[in-house]
Symmetry: C2
Subunit: 437 residues, 2 copies
Amino acid sequence: MTDGRPRSPGRGTRLDPWFDSYAERAHGMRASEIRALFAVASRPEVVSLAGGMPFIAGLPMGTIAEATERLLRERGAQALQYGSGQGEPELREPIVEVMDLEGVEAHPDDVVVTTGSQQALDIVTRIFVDPGDVVIAEAPSYVGALGVFRSYQADVVHVPMDEGGLIPEALEEALLAMRAARRRVKFIYTVPNFHNPAGVSLAAERRAAVVEVAARYGVLILEDNPYGLLGFDGETTPALQGLNPDGVVYLGSFSKTFAPGYRVGWAVAPHAVRERLVLAAESSILCPSMMSQLSIATYLQTCDWRGQIKIYRETYRERRDAMLSALAEFLPDCSWTVPEGGFYTWVTFPDGLDAKDMLPRAVTARVAYVPGTAFYADGQGSGYARLSYCYPTPERIREGVRRLAGVVTGERELVEMFGTGGGGRIRGVLNPKPNQE
Amino acid sequence: MTDGRPRSPGRGTRLDPWFDSYAERAHGMRASEIRALFAVASRPEVVSLAGGMPFIAGLPMGTIAEATERLLRERGAQALQYGSGQGEPELREPIVEVMDLEGVEAHPDDVVVTTGSQQALDIVTRIFVDPGDVVIAEAPSYVGALGVFRSYQADVVHVPMDEGGLIPEALEEALLAMRAARRRVKFIYTVPNFHNPAGVSLAAERRAAVVEVAARYGVLILEDNPYGLLGFDGETTPALQGLNPDGVVYLGSFSKTFAPGYRVGWAVAPHAVRERLVLAAESSILCPSMMSQLSIATYLQTCDWRGQIKIYRETYRERRDAMLSALAEFLPDCSWTVPEGGFYTWVTFPDGLDAKDMLPRAVTARVAYVPGTAFYADGQGSGYARLSYCYPTPERIREGVRRLAGVVTGERELVEMFGTGGGGRIRGVLNPKPNQE
């Protein structure tokens, strides 16, 4: 992975006549560890604790279906037409109301609607990052963001977190080190609420410190907040953006509070940055889907979206509880974070276990997770895994953790027999190939 | 525009604290000339011959609304969920059938579904183009593609067209010159059918020659074909892709044959290229909208999409006829191409007229067009304009051309009074500021 040679992203035995034509950046693009898992996770016999799919079966589909029919009947010629690159004002206005719940100060003019917040990550990185620039990210960090940073040839510098999220002193240390090394830091990427994958939140009392350190070093903050409204106690913590609107680009999404199938997220940015984001978005997709935007605007108008978020919170709290009690029962030798919202817990395996090496055995035992290495830009994280509780039922979660415990027990016995780290050394023995790609 | 200084994309008087943080590529991103026009074109008193909005009012909205309601009721939990990065097989299969009408050889596995074909342009350029690489494009070329190439810091080399489209001998000359200059040419970008903006098509007998020249020089072809099924005689010309599937990346779109509001296009690429495109697409948007994809799959299953394309062809032919007869009546001193399909004609103004300088006067006279300079990477094109006939009614088209003729007459008188090119020299006199933006 670090031998400097470009990887073939797929079946490596086929000759690629265009291999010499690719851009430098293309050689850094590779399939994420999560991606290969999608094929596994979709097999019904596997309990997937890997994916981040929200549990949308509880949405009021009948009401949504009727409202959508009316939208197409009454305003079809608008809904099916091109729109503006920045996004429809009719949606940007309620987005401002949604953000108000978390203390984000914004006007609809400050909002850029994107194809999911993934596209917002892409265009922010596109306008800021030259190859070799530094992006600071939490350790661990969101795998989809790391993929974007890599595709723009950024160097990611990880800053440690603890139970209270990003550590302000460690952030300052990293910024100081970068300054001393004369490296250009373009932004600090953070998921402050119900972190993906770590399951922790940035403590309220640390937020001013993080904003202050960033401002003092003249570095922008990229605040990614898809889960902020999914706190199990129903409380929200003020966004970093509200503490310094000129120093933060804020990303939001309807994927977790409503549904991901429309691919609608957004960015809020200081005025001049926002203008450049619109240009980058237009270059990238011309304009976001009008049908998606008006569908969501209609949902916000006609459905009890606050009530739906409450339902989501209750659903995910029940599943989080199932996850935590199963972990306590079946994996007492592991440790894990206790999420107060969101989709994920971060599990630390006993010494000597390598979560990536163990994954094929887990899949054979019909349980899937994402190994910790996926969430680091630098190969760290082999002793960890992200377990998600958002999609399976509480019973399936319990069964999944039970299966995982069997795998961990087996793996520990092998490690004890062959020594710590043996899993890596005698790969052929310890890691039977999974029965899928 | 060529003074090497970055442009502020908007109100330049505001200070931008992040100005020094932008990536090199961001400085090349600027608002297209079409973009500023959107605000004008939407004012009801202006006849817009500028936009490329399809006339979708004739779609069977009732049927579409009902089918969409059923989709959400019966399969809502799938339609509103995340999907795969490559796109839904249920849509990739009928896409192969659609392409079969134009001789494209493809399997559903070869197709990548994108957020409009603009995203396909973006990811193809992303995986192939390093700063300073050459992209060959027709003269003139699609403004949205030129924006993408610029944002990846490509150097665009234009190759002339005539009534039969791209000239194979000129293409070879350009490739030879690039080889002599040791420049890396990454691909040849072409819109072979009903060209945007030129309104011409690549003659059937030239297609093999273009493919052969590209193959001989080892250069990929990027074939962009949004209009191929909109030929007024109902005939199609075989795609370049069918002549050499390993040497062509083919782009298609539902924006003109169905509706742009879903933002669904696609790319077909040789196997290894396709795998990299999927990675780039995932990095860019994670996955295309499942709701959009299933909506279109449903439309293709439940509606007479071939019949709808026939309706589009007839609508646009009637408007093309209105455009051509108005041009003959009101602008006898201009010349123009005679499109056999698609949305656009390319008008050559009398010597001495500058279409960009003239635009503010045209807007004042309540008619809008896109000046030719928008379609060149190098500042050429001031004597031309793209007129589109896709959206306004025949009566409005006639009225728009009549207004344009008044502007041209006035402009010619001024040019005769002040000399050729005078428009540029005494800008303040000849070009009153438009009363917007």
